[in-house]
Amino acid sequence: MSSAITNTFLIARREYLERVRAKSFLVMTVLIPALMGAAIFGIALVNRNQKSAQHVAVLSDDPAFAANIQAELAAADTANKPVVDIYPLHDASARANLDTQLKSKGSDLDGYLVVTPSSTSGQRPIFQWVPRVTSDVITRGRVADASRGALIRQKLAASGMSAPQIDDLLASVDLSAGNGKSDHAGAAVASAWAMYFLMYFIILFYGMNVARSIIEEKTSRIFEVLLATIKPEEMLAGKVIGVGSVGLTQVGIWLALAVGYAKFSTAGLDIHMLPSAGQCGLFALFFLLGFLLYASLAAALGAMNNSEQELQQMQIFLMLPLIFSSMIIFNVITSPDGVVAKAASFFPFTAPLIMYTRVIVGKPGAAAVAGSLAILVATIAIVLWLASRIYRVGILMYGKKPNLPEILRWLKYS
């Protein structure tokens, strides 16, 4: 009936306006990107200062071999060319000097590598790594790789290959040759992760807000007044839509700002997360339905609980399916038409993320996509209906927290 739509709209509009007008909305809209930006900047800053294999010493009697290690280490980090000192193996004073350097705070030496020739000829030399910090596994790994590279180079040179021939042979292989510029798989992963993070954020903040606003009405007891004219399902649907729209508004503001920034920024950020307009539309559709589904679930949690504390304990039920989706996403990307991907793209709580990923990396077919969307819509309706059932009976018997058998019994009441 149209009165149901009017009522739902009135509830949704109130929720939306009250929230968007609140100061906290403005603060959050500004503060969250600011904090995120600060965090990203901070991480970049920390990583820039974090130096691995910046200064290494090699003790070896074979200058050609030591030079190979030096070259391999330099090739591993082209951005920051590391300093590699070479000392003869039996120079005891050099070794003592290196040991003191490792203990001194003023020195930047990461460690030194001792290369002792094997007693039997033709065998590998023995490598001993003496680091400043034993837990510096990055430097350790690089030194090990460089040593292995040097061994290969030595053997190849011994078999008569020239240095350019060896370089050519050992160069890394580029698989993307001939694929053109757009890296399909990369974009798919990026947009799937973007969806995951957007959904995670918006469900965490606004999904729980739906549940909270239901509980707030229970504690203030205004629902007694509301239910005299409207049905619980109208109220819950209004809340899901109203609070959800606030979240979408916020995300919309951020996206608009990000796009604006990318457009006018001279840095020329290369954002090609969404490969085509059609996929862009599907992203929006799956995101929206996904949010509605989780928000309905949150509404059910709100209907079941009478206080914020009780709600907190149940929050995990809301996040669990989403976390699960993120855990199987790699499986889906590598095998988009496999059993796991197929099953998960029709299971309503994982469908938004997984079916969207499949659309990008695989070929699920229009019928399957339509089916998945239909399941989502049906599940939203069912969850909202269940939530309103629980709500209706729950408020009539308020005062105690229901257990599962009671909730199941409530579903039969009218």
């Binding site: 009135l10 009250e18 203030s220 007891r221 004219t229 009218s414």
Partner: protein, 310 residues
């Protein structure tokens, strides 16, 4: 045509029988008292009346038709436990609630302003609810129930927590509404509050109707055998054979007579005994007395171990 008609309704929650075989009718232009102690099923009955719950059996008729949600726009309900949105401005709140009852925004705004004026809280209009006193909030809830000019007004414990001045204002308003032809249902456990207001009553106890009818007719069923007198001097006359029982609160005596005709002889005896009588009033029983007397005769009373939580 009655505004509300309940026919033999019954509601069971799990194992608890909330309402059992309740039948009542409320006529337009009357005040109806739904009375009973806490937990007797008043709120459950009201909830079935306005479709918040559906009775397990029996029928509910509103405005002469079987219950339909469209009728709810003609019902104003003030629940016993009520609230408002704390952070919302009073006017916005009233408009919102008015719109939910089917009003358009401009009508809701106009009526809200008029009602706030009438209820003497015009200065609160632009304030947030949380800034208001409890009494003011209660008036706003009262207005919210009346904004859409309902033909049936349901008030569940409307005076609880209200100071006498505001209670008087509310009562006056309700009397005016009754004069305008509205039907008003009072639900309360404070029988003294509705005694002079209600035209007819229904008393329920443990979910069952124990007494119903017109106020006058019910009162007339009970003998006028109560006397309240204020006096100074000796109180020996209270030992008179015409006195069945009495309470003497230092100079104010509440007396129950053996028969309604014994009042005159008691007055004579008091004067003869040398008491100075300032006031001597033959009274009809109060609603509360009638209620207690009626309930004591029910099997449920015996089941409850002889306790009534009025």
């Amino acid at each position: 045509m009655p505004i509300v008609e309940l026919q033999n309704i019954r509601k069971v929650y799990d194992t608890k029988v909330a309402v059992e075989g309740l039948t009542l009718a409320i006529e337009p232009g009357t005040m109806f008292g739904l009375l009973g102690p806490n937990g007797s099923g008043k709120t459950s009955s009201i909830r079935m009346m306005i479709g918040m719950t559906v009775p397990d059996s029996g029928t509910v008729q509103l405005f002469g038709k079987p219950f339909a949600r469209t009728s709810l726009h003609k019902v104003g309900y003030l629940p016993e436990e009520r609230g408002l949105y704390k952070k919302m401005k009073v006017l916005d709140q009233l408009i919102f609630l008015g719109q939910l009852h089917g009003l358009d925004e401009s009508t809701a705004r106009k009526r809200s302003l008029a009602w706030c004026e009438r209820m003497e809280i015009a200065e609160a209009i632009e304030k947030k609810t949380e800034e208001l006193s409890k009494g003011m909030q209660q008036k706003i809830q009262f207005i919210a129930a009346l904004l859409h000019e309902p033909d049936l007004i349901i008030m569940d414990e409307p005076f609880s927590g209200l100071d006498p001045v505001n209670a008087e204002l509310l009562m006056k308003t309700l009397i005016e509404l009754r004069a305008a032809g509205k039907a008003i249902l009072f639900s309360t456990h404070r029988m003294d509050q509705v005694e002079k207001l209600c035209d007819s009553i229904a008393i329920i106890f443990k979910g069952k109707l124990v007494l119903s009818g017109g106020m006058r007719e019910i009162k007339n069923r009970y003998p006028r055998n109560r006397v309240q007198m204020t006096f100074t001097g000796p109180d020996s006359f209270l030992k008179n054979p015409a006195v069945a029982s009495f309470e003497n609160y230092t100079g104010i005596a509440e007396i129950k007579l053996t028969s309604p005709d014994a009042a005159q002889s008691l007055l004579h005896a008091a004067v003869a005994a040398g008491a100075h009588v300032n006031r001597f009033e033959v009274m009809e029983p109060t609603l509360e007395e009638i209620f207690i007397e009626t309930v004591k005769g029910t099997p449920e009373y015996a089941e409850a171990g002889g306790r009534i939580d009025v």
